[in-house]
């Protein structure tokens, strides 16, 4: 195990506001950051979900409730804009409409990117997911429908164009080679990820039996499997 920093690492002390005072006091190392003042609004939650999905090798549970809530908000904001425009907007209203529209665009981008990230994983691991009920519970209904029909189309085409022309003993699509390699690809949970600890975490058990202390603000490159529970509990974030 390697320790990049010799000392116990920098510590930024807590503060009251997450914004530093406007007059610069360059003497101190101590300024608060996002970890001292975590945002809980729905958009920040979506950012969190996006980051985890993007950085984790696994397929995470779909944030259906959150996505539904945000879609509802987007509808409401769109209606509000419609009303404001019909009523003949004042200059101040124009200003507000601009901001609201900008935010809707930003949130729309985040949602699309979040869903596209999941889709990439779903299509890469289709046949693994279809044969693993535990993973299927993490998918939305639309996603389940997607991978069912995707696998069907994919296999039909594979059999028609390639596999069907091979000798029968070579036609399996889910063969496992003697060395353990499988035709069905599945997420590599041992893959390394970057974590940033949101709080002091207890000692973490490493694969070789040693234990690792993870301190608040600690940044580690580490196997996803080792920290999976910490990620799911939200004690560390993926970076």
């Amino acid at each position: 195990m390697a320790d990049w920093n010799a000392a116990s690492g920098p510590s930024w002390s807590n503060g009251q506001s997450h914004l530093p005072s406007p007059s610069p006091e360059p003497t101190e190392d101590t300024f608060p950051d996002d970890l001292d003042n975590e945002r809980t609004d729905p958009i920040s939650q979506l950012v969190k979900a996006w980051t985890i999905e993007r950085c984790s090798p696994d397929i995470m549970a779909f944030e259906g409730e959150l996505v539904g809530k945000i879609m509802g908000y987007l509808d409401a904001q769109a209606k509000l804009i419609g009303v404001l425009k019909v009523d003949g907007a004042s200059e101040e209203d124009h200003e507000k409409i601009g901001l609201v529209q900008m935010e809707m665009d930003r949130v729309g981008w985040l949602l699309r990117s979040y869903i596209a990230t999941r889709q990439e994983k779903l299509m890469r691991y289709t046949s693994y997911i279809n044969s693993t009920p535990a993973i299927q519970t993490r998918l939305s209904v639309a996603e389940q429908t997607l991978i069912e029909s995707y696998q069907q189309i994919f296999e039909e085409s594979l059999i028609r164009d390639v596999v069907g022309n091979l000798p029968e003993e070579l036609q399996a699509l889910d063969e496992v080679l003697p060395d353990g390699r499988s035709m069905v690809s599945q997420p590599d949970l041992d893959k390394a990820v970057f974590i940033r600890a949101k709080q002091d975490c207890g000692p973490v058990l490493m694969p070789d039996g040693s234990s690792l202390e993870i301190k608040k603000r600690g940044i580690h490159l580490i196997s996803y499997r080792v920290v999976e529970q910490l990620v799911l509990r939200g004690e560390v974030e993926l970076a």
């Binding site: 990049w4 360059p26 900008m102 935010e103 490159l221």
Partner: protein, 201 residues
Amino acid sequence: MALPANLMRSPLPAELEFIALQQTDVLIRPHFSMGKIRLLSGSYGPFRATANIEVPLWVGKYMKQQGKCSLIPPVWLNVEWLEEKLKQEISRPEEFAPLPFRFAEVSKVFLDIAPDDVPSPERVRSLLKDLREVRQAKTRKGLALLDEMELRMTGLGSMEINELRPFLIRAMGAMRVLASEPEVPASTADNTFATSMDDGW
């Protein structure tokens, strides 16, 4: 559409900037007045000319670009603070000086859209560049410590992590494979080699 494979490996710098704009707050000094506005990420305002107010960085950027406010740089984005950190970065070769996690993204936004709100922007820019170079040198040295288990890199910023990510994750994967392979006893290996040499030649 599924996300393109190259984006799956690592987020783009532009995407990290998007996240920083969303998740960072900034003090602005409005040049106008406007009532309270309710956005999905929270309610802001009322805005009054010359009364500083805290908003998400993307709101500040939007207003700044319309000439409706000035941005007030965070406490760490100035010559004195950065000079101090550069000194610290050089005098403590074993650790990264503590910079805000998204310092690269936030300072880029400020220097891109509001250089007139940052005192001595050129000096700030060059200090940020110096800091980056000292930290990169440390990163390169630190690579020697990489093993298949874990690497502690406390103090790195999100953009720095992103730069290292594709290489380090692959490298650690390769080391894991090497570590898990059963070691071939040296004598056997030598014999095999010798035999094949005899056969072949």
